[in-house]
Symmetry: C2
Subunit: 415 residues, 2 copies
């Protein structure tokens, strides 16, 4: 065979060399929309800038030369003072008793999701999840080729009768799920908190059916009163539960710092999959230095700010959508999860609204059953200021009314 | 079928749920060895601590609140001032002309390796690489299921006669490799620099055989005199060459900041695979702020330090191993690549030496053909201080003599 010379010398078609089944190509970023109600951005005014500067100065003065080594002087699990802070915090706030060797610092909890999926899942494996769920978790599970079984929630979190039925059905078909993935405390997107009774029952069911639990507590620090039930990881022994958390929602999302808690037998396998040369050092060091003395007071103030902002958002939605929009007052977190009447397709609404400068997250991406999710959408109230929420929601309602006849009358007059 | 109840209630065997073909589990980290001559750690005294503190303070004062958004105010490609610095630097130093939209900030160049492999490679695909190579690149390619074709190097870098023969052989068998992976400037581990004549020839061969080039220039800033040939990316148009680089070797490895240069058609596919929520913000911001005014003077001083240290290491190897060890004076970088006589198996030597407190990188992991690599090893001279190098190499020679009879007489007496 002669070499496959290119038709036009000097031209080069890179597409023909790429692998099959790539995700859709990214589009060029052109800045945030005027009314940015998507994603998990946080309150700009709450970033503790002075505290972070002070922390950066003191930790670099004390330990700056350790930047010369991968892993600092702490080894591959991450910066030791940060792991020690997490150990203390999880024992006090979540009832988890662990050692620093059972805590892995991850580059955001997204890396925690990737690592746990990678250690458990091969294509065709089954996982059980809450049927309204974080889009990034669902897309990752799909990318792993997992068979995703959705379990409905109500105001008390994942419904245990439905979970029992789903596990029994799988068992009848000879299928043992790899894990039950749950966001028990301030669930995304529903902002529900799983009751203690259901936590006990969930552990019983996991034991009965021989499966693991993957607990994601990214938002658990952000209940309005600061109270949270014990984590499932704290209620179970051994490696029944692998637990992840994050500082994205409590300090700042651009700091890519999350953590993963597992006993050493599982951790030793997970750590072997973390081949990134470590998580960003300054993010780790500055966060540890800041949190050791400021975490509690910062989060207490942030909770109050977020509560004020969600009240503005709920009022704005009631003003602009009236009875057309239904939602529950969230228990905490940064999101409001809103249902519109069935005729509204929020995927189309999101596209049309974006043309008008309003970005929302359509529900189809936030549910295991996209068809059921098509009339829901999610709004983040942490990032936009109060005027942006009011004006953005009003404009969204206008677009929705033009496109779907919902709400039937213009904002403000239908109450 | 009844549910698969566990034999012992309360016990839980997580191993039975893990996927097949996991890499070997990690072992617990117990601190660095006494004589740490492995890896890519850098000179602790050269970390510009004061400059980093100053940079952290000024950039956080100016832009701290942007930490509240994923991607800062710069979008998914990374912090814009850092991308702008890289654009200026690559044009001046490497002859690469690109825009900030053609630069992606990565979490170390390791993430660059992962992204490029991921966009091109499916199991069974073929890649062509220098036969002495970075272990982390080889292990990643193996993990992708790639068929790896090694091409020998000499003092002028990858041998083009051998590359031509390898590509012709593949073409005869109907195989079009996805890319040619090369570290042209201060190659790892050989520290060779590919000549200009060979760079021209490499581009011709890639065009002739219709394949891409993956250029890794992590060490290119660290030639002793600061001179470097133009990058392949600068010599070719379009997407023939995808280029990666890093700040790990010039500023600090614990800062996990690398970059990837590609034209937008390829970049749009690569960016869709970067689903990590962004690279660590403080690492990016502080680095950009520091480098804008200090990069050149810092790297000039670092080069002089590294040159002094490699001279200490070369003298130590000559003193302790005499004629038994052969190596070339490196053109730059942080590694010395050393051959011992054939009877020495450096994989075994590394194990025995570690018991004696000396860590080295055995050559078998640094070659496509592990059998040929078995008598080579790699030493990092950037991190250990001068006494550690002298005493560590002396102890290594003692261990090697006890184990393999090489060198034949004790250190220092055979010159």
């Amino acid at each position: 065979m002669s070499p496959p010379r290119e038709a036009v010398p000097g031209s080069f078609d890179v597409e023909s060399l790429l692998r099959a089944e790539l995700p859709p190509a990214a589009v060029r970023w052109t800045g945030f929309p005027e009314f940015n109600l998507v994603g998990g951005h946080n309150d700009a005014a709450s970033v503790p800038v002075d505290g972070l500067i002070e922390a950066a100065t003191s930790v670099l003065q004390r330990e700056g030369p350790t930047l010369s080594t991968y892993g600092l002087a702490s080894g591959p699990l991450g910066y030791l003072p940060l792991r020690e802070f997490i150990v203390r915090k999880l024992e006090r706030d979540a009832g988890i008793r662990c050692t620093p060797d059972e805590v892995l610092i991850t580059s955001g909890s997204l890396q925690g999701l990737d690592l746990v999926n990678d250690v458990f899942l091969a294509p065709g494996d089954t996982v059980v999840v809450e049927d309204m769920n974080y889009a990034g978790s669902l897309s990752r599970l799909k990318r792993c080729g997992a068979n995703i079984v959705g379990v409905p929630l109500d105001a008390g979190g994942m419904r245990m009768d439905a979970l029992d039925a789903a596990l029994a059905d799988l068992a009848r078909r000879g299928i043992r799920p790899k894990f039950i993935y749950t966001i028990p405390t301030v669930q995304n997107p529903t902002a529900t908190v799983m009751s203690m009774e259901r936590r006990v029952r969930l552990l019983e069911l996991a034991e009965r059916y021989g499966t693991a639990i993957f607990e994601d507590e990214c938002y658990a620090d952000l209940t309005w009163d600061g109270a949270r039930p014990p984590a499932l990881r704290g209620m179970a022994g051994g490696d029944r539960v692998v637990h992840i958390g994050s500082f994205s929602k409590t300090i700042a999302p651009a700091l890519r710092i999350g953590y993963l808690v597992a006993s050493w037998p599982l951790m030793s396998h997970i750590l072997a999959l973390k081949t990134d040369g470590g998580t960003g050092a300054l993010d780790q060091m500055v966060l540890a230095e800041y949190c050791a003395t400021h975490f509690d007071s910062h989060v207490m103030a942030l909770r109050a700010t977020l509560r004020r902002k969600v009240e503005v958002l709920m009022a704005a939605v009631r003003d602009s959508f009236g009875a057309s929009a239904t939602f529950s007052d969230p228990t905490g977190g940064i999101f409001l999860w809103i249902a519109l009447p069935k005729p509204v397709d929020t995927t189309r609404l999101a596209q049309v609204a974006l043309q008008a400068g309003v970005a929302i997250n359509p529900g189809a991406e936030w549910m295991t059953d996209g068809a059921t999710g098509r009339s829901w959408f999610r709004v983040c109230f942490a990032h936009p200021d109060e005027a942006t929420m009011r004006n953005g929601v009003a404009r969204l309602a206008e677009v929705c009314r033009r496109e779907f006849g919902v709400p039937a009358v213009a904002g403000g007059t239908h109450r």
